[in-house]
C-alpha cells in the first residue's frame, strides 16, 4: 500500500511540476515578446526623432546658412553715400552674422556634423571644446585602440556621453573628466570618470525627476548595452558603459 501511495504521489508531483514549468515558460516567453515589442517601439520613436533632428539641422546648415551669407554679401555690395544708410547696412550685416552664429549653434545642438564626417571621438572632443567651460572642467577624451564607426549606434553613444557631461557640469563640481574608449571583437567599452563630489546612485535614481538617467538607460537598452554607475560621495563618479558589437 505504501509503495502505491509513494508511486501515485511521485506521478502526481511530476505532472504538477510539468504543468508549473510549462506555465512559467509560457509567461516568460510572452512577457519577453512584449518587452521586445516595447523596445522596438521606443527604438522607432527615437530613430524618427533623430532623423527629424538631422533633417532640421541639415536644412539650417546647408540651405538657410548659405542663403543668409548671400544676403549679407549682397547688402555689403550696395553702394551708398549717406553715412546713415552705411550705418544701417553695417548694423544689418552684424545682425545677419548673429543670426548665422545662432543658427549654426542650433544646428550643432540638433546634430553635430562631425559625428557623421569624422566619427564619434572627434565629435565628442569637439563637443567638449564647444561647451566652452574649459576653465571649469578639463575634459580628456581618448581611445585605447581604433574605434570602428557605426552610424546607428554612434548617435546614441554621443547622446549618452552628452548627458554625462551635462550632469558632471551641473551637479558633480568636478575639475577633471576622463572619457575613454576601448573596443575588441565583441564589444565597445566606455569608461567615464570624474573627480567630483560623487552622489548616492540609488537615491538619485529613485528621486530623479529629470529624464537624464532614464534616457541614458533607454538608449543603452536600445543598443542591448548596459550602463553601470559607481559613485562614492567625495571620491568622484565612474560610468561603465558596455555596448555589444554586431
Amino acid at each position: 500500500m505504501e509503495d502505491r501511495i509513494y508511486d501515485i504521489t511521485a506521478l502526481l508531483s511530476s505532472l504538477l511540476a510539468v504543468i508549473i514549468i510549462f506555465f512559467i515558460g509560457s509567461i516568460i516567453r510572452y512577457h519577453r515578446r512584449y518587452v521586445r515589442l516595447q523596445r522596438e517601439r521606443i527604438t522607432a520613436e527615437i530613430k524618427s526623432l533623430e532623423n527629424e533632428r538631422k533633417r532640421i539641422a541639415t536644412d539650417l546648415h546647408d540651405s538657410l546658412g548659405p542663403l543668409l551669407s548671400t544676403v549679407k554679401l549682397n547688402m555689403t555690395s550696395i553702394e551708398v553715400t549717406d553715412p546713415r544708410d552705411k550705418q544701417i547696412i553695417a548694423k544689418s550685416g552684424k545682425y545677419i552674422d548673429e543670426i548665422i552664429t545662432s543658427m549654426r549653434q542650433i544646428s550643432y545642438d540638433l546634430l553635430p556634423n562631425t559625428l557623421e564626417r569624422r566619427g564619434l571621438i572627434e565629435a565628442i572632443t569637439e563637443f567638449t571644446n564647444h561647451i566652452g567651460d574649459n576653465h571649469i572642467l578639463e575634459v580628456h577624451v581618448y581611445a585605447v585602440n581604433a574605434i570602428t564607426p557605426d552610424p546607428e549606434k554612434d548617435i546614441h553613444i554621443f547622446r549618452v556621453i552628452q548627458e554625462i557631461i551635462h550632469n558632471t557640469l551641473k551637479h558633480a563640481a568636478a575639475t577633471k573628466l576622463e572619457i575613454g574608449f576601448s573596443q575588441d571583437e565583441k564589444e565597445l567599452l566606455i569608461l567615464v570618470h570624474d573627480n567630483g563630489k560623487g552622489f548616492n546612485v540609488e537615491k538619485a535614481k529613485q528621486n530623479s525627476r529629470g529624464l537624464g538617467l532614464k534616457s541614458m538607460e533607454i538608449r543603452m537598452d536600445i543598443m542591448h548595452g548596459s550602463v553601470s554607475i559607481h559613485s562614492v560621495p567625495g571620491e568622484g563618479t565612474r560610468y561603465y558603459l558596455r555596448i555589444p558589437l554586431g
Binding site: D3, I28, H31, R39, S182
Partner: protein, 221 residues
C-alpha cells in the same frame, strides 16, 4: 540507497565552492553572500559528518545551520536590492526568523534532540517567494539568455530546494516514524540536492565580473 551514496551526493557542494574560490576576487560584491552561503553549506556538511560519527546525531549542527542559512539568504536578497529598498520588511523577516527559531529550538528544546521543521518550512517559503519575485523582475529587465544569468540560476536553485524542503519537512511532521514513503522522499532529496549544487556551480561560473576589474583589464588603469 546506501549512506555512502547520500554522503557523496551531499558533498557535490564542493564543486560550486571551488569555482567560487577561483572567481572570488573578480565577482561583483552583491554575489559575495552567495559564496558565503556555499561555504556555510560545505562547513555544515563536514561538521555534520564528524558529528554523526562522534555522537550519532547532527541535530545541533543542522539546527544552527538552518538559522545561519536563512539569515545569509535574507542578506543575499538585501544586496540584490529588493530588501534594500524595503528595510522594514528585512527587519520584520529577521525578527520573525529569530523568534520562530528560538521558540522551536530553545523553548521547545529541539536544538539537540530534533529538527526545527516549522522554522525550515517558514524560511523555505519566504525564500521561494523572494526568489519568484527576483525572477519576475529579471524577466522584465534582462534581455539576454536567462539560463546564462547567475541570479536566475541561483533563484531556480533556491526555489527547487525551498519547495522540496517544505515537502520533506511536511512529511516529517505527518510521519515522524520514518516510514518507507518518508525515506523515499529523503532519498530523492539527496539527488535533488546534488542537481541544485550543479546548478549553483553553473551559476557561479556565470556570476558577472566586477565592473572596475573588467574595465581595468581593458583600460590598463
Amino acid at each position: 540507497m546506501s549512506n555512502t551514496v547520500t554522503q557523496l551526493l551531499s558533498f557535490t557542494i564542493i564543486f560550486p565552492m571551488i569555482l567560487g574560490l577561483i572567481r572570488m576576487h573578480r565577482i561583483r560584491a552583491s554575489y559575495q553572500p552567495f559564496l558565503l552561503l556555499l561555504l556555510l553549506a560545505l562547513t555544515s556538511e563536514v561538521v555534520s559528518e564528524v558529528s554523526i560519527r562522534l555522537t550519532k546525531s547532527n541535530a545541533i549542527t543542522s539546527n544552527i545551520y538552518t538559522l545561519l542559512e536563512a539569515v545569509v539568504i535574507l542578506y543575499l536578497f538585501y544586496t540584490w536590492g529588493f530588501l534594500k529598498k524595503r528595510p522594514r520588511l528585512m527587519i520584520f523577516l529577521a525578527i520573525i526568523y529569530c523568534v520562530v527559531w528560538a521558540f522551536e529550538n530553545l523553548y521547545m528544546g529541539l536544538l539537540a534532540d530534533g529538527f526545527s521543521s516549522y522554522f525550515v518550512m517558514l524560511y523555505s517559503l519566504v525564500t521561494v517567494l523572494l526568489s519568484i519575485n527576483e525572477i519576475n523582475s529579471l524577466i522584465a529587465a534582462f534581455g539576454g539568455n536567462l539560463f546564462r544569468n547567475a541570479k536566475f540560476l541561483i533563484c531556480i536553485g533556491l526555489i527547487i530546494m525551498g519547495v522540496y524542503s517544505v515537502i520533506t519537512e511536511g512529511f516529517m511532521l505527518i510521519d515522524p516514524d520514518n516510514s518507507r514513503v518518508s525515506r523515499n522522499i529523503f532519498n530523492l532529496f539527496a539527488f535533488i540536492n546534488a542537481f541544485v549544487n550543479i546548478v549553483y556551480a553553473i551559476a557561479v561560473w556565470f556570476i558577472p565580473v566586477r565592473d572596475d576589474y573588467y574595465f581595468s583589464k581593458r583600460f590598463k588603469a
